[in-house]
């Protein structure tokens, strides 16, 4: 495939969304699982719904599949209102978290199930199942029952079964949740390749932010039934729109502060708990003297023993904890105010002659453009 140089659809004005979720609300009794969510997903996207348990992400997925009725709102897929379309008539397939392989059928029969329901001629079924088996590299297990397969093999069968009908939209509920870490990493890339090859729109639900980061074209961060931010993975990480997103995606240090100088191209913020002033090199639309939260990612900080030559964005504290992770080390630094800051440093050399160690006093500093100011 040639590399697309055009702008992604979601950045183009007037591009027609493939899935339109309009003011969708779903209540279970008194509990609101999905709260007035509106979302557009475009063709060929690999969209990740990221959220913790109980965030409503799975409910939203089940709404798309047709397993849950709406309390209010509307879902359009390819311009068609899905309100009265039963799950078995939707141009959608789903891969379940538990894989939901039929235990009494062989792998090949599991995969063929969807085509048989559509009365596809037998010859064609055989041919398409064979193609799918070879694409997923599971030919060897075609005659086995699901309980004779490993977790990774089952995952492939589930994916094969959900793709065999060539759906326009594939829903994946925690597709990699049941795999171990190594396998998960390999499968992540494979999923992206398959999606690219088949040109199917994927909507993935996951609680694993790493998974969302590697898979997604865009991520929708969900919490308490609301989508708080929809952006490309990099933007979700670097420019979280709220405290909730900042804390949910990756780890981050947050400092409460008050704006004391607000210019068009920069703001200055005073923070008692940080024990220093912050300088942010972009303007913020906010009330004067407003309370804000400054967020800094642990890897954006430089750690030095000597005081760096900068007036702003420089903390001083004592190392209270070190975790050696192999590729990097995590330091927990306690500031004078008692606030604990998390810093990560890559382990660039094998043996450090003068390593930072417990109880060392250090300065933590970062650039003007490394922090994010959160107003909500």
């Amino acid at each position: 495939m040639t590399q697309e140089t055009t702008m992604p659809l979601w950045k183009q004005d007037g591009a027609k969304p493939f899935i339109q979720i309009k003011n969708v609300t779903k209540k279970f009794g008194e509990f609101t699982a999905v709260d007035n969510v509106s979302l557009d997903i475009y063709e060929n996207e690999l969209f990740c719904l990221l959220g913790g348990s109980g965030s409503g992400k799975s409910t939203l997925l089940r709404i798309l599949a047709g397993f849950e009725d709406l309390t209010s709102g509307q879902v359009l897929i390819d311009g068609v209102d899905m309100a009265n379309i039963e799950p078995w008539n939707r141009p959608i397939n789903m891969m379940f978290q538990s894989y939901a392989l039929f235990p009494h059928m062989s792998v090949a029969k599991n995969i063929a199930f969807g085509l048989k329901r559509d009365n596809v001629p037998k010859k064609e079924i055989e041919q398409r199942v064979a193609e799918m088996l070879s694409m997923m590299q599971i030919e060897a297990f075609a005659d086995r029952k699901p309980d004779q397969l490993s977790g990774g093999q089952r995952q492939r069968v589930a994916l094969a079964r959900s793709l065999i009908k060539r759906p326009k939209l594939l829903l994946l509920d925690e597709p990699l949740g049941a795999l171990d870490k190594k396998l998960r990493e390999e499968t992540q890339f494979e999923l992206v390749n398959i999606q690219d090859k088949l040109g199917v729109t994927f909507v993935v639900v996951t609680h694993d932010q790493e998974e969302a980061m590697t898979l997604a074209t865009r991520i929708g961060v969900m919490g308490n039934g609301i989508i708080t931010q929809v952006d490309e993975p990099r933007d979700v990480y670097e420019y979280p729109s709220s405290r909730f997103v900042a804390e949910f995606v990756g780890s981050i240090n947050l400092f409460e502060g008050r704006i004391y100088e607000d210019e068009v191209e920069h703001v200055k913020i005073k923070s008692k708990e940080a024990g220093c002033n912050f300088f942010v090199n972009h303007g913020i639309s906010c009330a004067p003297n407003q309370k804000v939260t400054v967020a800094v990612r642990p890897e954006k900080m430089k750690v030095t023993r000597r005081k760096p030559d900068q007036e702003y964005n420089c903390l001083h504290g004592q190392i209270i904890d070190i975790a050696y992770m192999g590729n990097l080390s995590i330091f927990r630094v306690k500031l004078k105010s008692g606030v604990i800051v998390r810093v990560t440093l890559p382990n660039l050399v094998r043996e450090n002659r003068n390593p930072l160690t417990w109880d060392d006093f250090v300065y933590l500093a970062w650039d003007d453009d490394s922090s994010v100011v959160l107003t909500s």
Binding site: A65, F96, P103
Partner: protein, 267 residues
């Protein structure tokens, strides 16, 4: 081996002796040559031969097997429907009462079940003329009422263990509700259905009390014949017959349990 293994094996030995010594003695005495039940006169199979020449017993056995077979089949059909509704209908008002109703026959004293059914049959006959008299039909209906409860409970527990997403996956792949039931749900609960059938079969074969209430003249089941024979004194023939029944029931129960175990491994 645990420290208690000796204690455990001795206590289980006692338990089994308590349970099976009477049955064992019955089986041994069924091979007794002597005509006196309590006097051992050497080994023989003559009572078995005698048994197969006794037309009354053979007729009763045919009635019992016929009743058991039809009862088990009807119980499975009704029990599966009831179990399916109870586990799939979600919460509906009065669900607790309905599930209580279904399992009530399990704990109802047989005398009461039998009596109430007899009253029902008699008044039905007076009202609409059906069932005309009491016989195999009424026994089957009576047995089905309590056997279907067992099937419903077994099926319901199997269904509640079943992953809901299996049915959703089938729907998602284009299966409409009826084909979903026959292609996915039914095969997956088939071990429960088979074990329910076997259980209903053996229980119907076993039943004396309810059958005594609702059977008519000339339609005695095997337990009824045995019971009436015993009232005239225990004959070695009855021992032979009882041994054969124990064998059939044991096969049924073991097969039912084996099916239940199988269901656990394939889940």
């Amino acid at each position: 081996m645990t420290r208690n293994s000796k204690f455990l094996s001795i206590s289980s030995l006692f338990g089994f002796i308590f349970l099976y010594a009477p049955i064992l003695s019955l089986i041994i005495y069924s091979f007794n040559k002597s005509k006196l039940v309590t006097v051992w006169g050497g080994w023989s199979v003559k009572w078995y031969a005698e048994l197969f020449n006794n037309q009354q017993i053979i007729d009763a056995a045919i009635v019992s097997l016929k009743v058991a077979f039809i009862t088990a089949t009807l119980s499975v059909i009704l029990g599966v429907l009831a179990g399916y509704v109870l586990s799939r209908m979600g919460k509906f008002p009065g669900k607790l009462i309905v599930s209580g109703w279904i399992s009530a026959p399990l704990i109802m004293p047989e005398v009461i079940t039998g009596l109430s059914l007899l009253l029902l049959f008699v008044s039905l006959e007076n009202l609409i003329g059906w069932p005309a008299g009491r016989g195999i039909t009424t026994i089957i209906i009576a047995h089905t009422t309590f056997c279907m409860a067992y099937v419903a409970v077994i099926v319901q527990s199997r269904l509640s263990q079943m992953d809901d997403s299996l049915e959703e996956a089938a729907m998602d792949l284009g299966a409409k509700p009826h084909s979903l039931f026959f292609l996915i749900t039914l095969p997956i609960i088939s071990p429960a259905i088979i074990s329910g059938w076997l259980l209903a079969f053996t229980m119907s074969l076993d039943d004396l009390v309810i059958a005594s209430f609702v059977s008519g003249p000339g339609n005695s089941t095997l337990p009824m014949v045995i019971f009436s024979k015993i009232r005239l004194g225990v004959s070695p023939e009855v021992n032979a017959l009882a041994t054969i029944m124990i064998l059939i029931v044991a096969i049924g129960v073991v097969a039912a349990m084996w099916q239940m175990r199988k269901k656990e491994t394939t889940l």
